[in-house]
Amino acid sequence: MYAFELAGVTKRYGRRAALDNVSLAVPAGSALGLLGPNGAGKTTALRLLLGFASPTAGSVRLRGLPASSPAARRGVAYLPERLRLPARATVRSFLRLHAALAGLGTPERQIDAALETTGLVERAEDRIGELSKGLTQRVGFAQALLGPPELLLLDEPTSGLDPIGIRDARDWIQKLRERGCTVLVSSHVLSEVERTCDRAAILHEGRVIAEGTTDEIAAPGESLEDAFLRLVQA
């Protein structure tokens, strides 16, 4: 079964096609990097997967269910690029809300585990508004790690993290992958995708112009970055 699937998806805003007949099917347990220049349609693809928008044509399915169904989002975690968290909530109360919304059976144990993993144990009772941008991003990761999730959708996940945070984030994603979690990373940072994903799809002007393992996309001796530039500028 596919963790998620876009089949012949077109999304238009007026006359402009943000996505044009895009088809992507990602098997459970794999990690896909979604690459593309600004305006390529990466964020639109994520919005469609989360049911935030409906396709103009085609179908979007999560775990075999239509993406617009709330049931499709069971076991799904998301970390947006523009992370806005409730400033007055404490880290723990925020995680408690998300654990409840995710339907976790033993939330406190899961919350403690997420706090431990993301290095936030000492800050658990702090208000989120008092945290630095990097620590806030860690709180975002902590809510995404609750469960753990079956499908993790990340939009520019290392934005705002320092080098240690970036290394840690890479480790968290790797550990989730070892537990069978499917991961989708939308990023501009090609090296990040190269390290965390086994497959990549390159979007350009709303179309998938390349998809496969990094070895399949890049020519022999070519880095993913070189391949990306060659494909996008062609």
Partner: protein, 278 residues
Amino acid sequence: MSAPGPAAAGLTAPSPLRVWLLLTRESLADAMRRRIVPLIAAMALLSLFLVDNCTGCSPAIEVQGQAVAGGEVAGVLAVSLLVVLGLWTLVLAGVLASDHLMEPLADGSATLVLSRPVSRASFALSRLAGVLLLSFATGALLLLAAAVLLSQRQGLAVAPALAALGACLAGCVTVGGLAMLASLLLPRVAAALLVFGFVWGIGVVNAAGCSGAQLEGLLGAIHRLGPPLASSMILALAAWVEPLVPLGDAADVALRSAVWAGASATLLVLGFRRRELS
């Protein structure tokens, strides 16, 4: 290695009611933190002070040279007082609702919640419920305080005021739901101004219709078919003034009040389902 699946991962689908209650608690907390809340508290206290003064006087009134019984005048004034307080509560519900749903959508904080297995209906109705709890608590304080003072000083029964409070709640759902729906389509200021015009416009039409004025055309249609924002409260307080004023059919107004409340909440959910999130 395959993904563990939601059940294996210890996930159980939370019931829609539990989700709604969780989100309503968050929504109420958000509403309480709004900068307008201290202003609301100050205006409520000022209103109570005015109510205390208004209910304390006992004027000798003559109409066309005839002395009017104090009880009759007290009844009309009491109805006017409670209806104005009720309309003020409706405005409050509408103004709070006019950006309570849009704010978390605009700043992006709603996206994490809606990425969970949370329906659009649960989210929108919880945002509405948070606003309603705050505005209805304010309305209950104002209306019940006025009713108790009127009971002590003018001898008016408290029960009609409780019925008016129920009518006010139904009106809050209508105004809050429509204001939230309008906020999905209009800028915040426009939605708030629309609330003012809507509530006070219908309030004036209802008051005129209930006092026996012949309303025709659009005004008549608004009075007979529109949300009975003021007429439902006037009707609830009928026992205070019935000998003086023809008030119409209670069952019709109560049914219309419930239908408008249900329709506005339904329209809000439908409108929010169609909304694309960024």
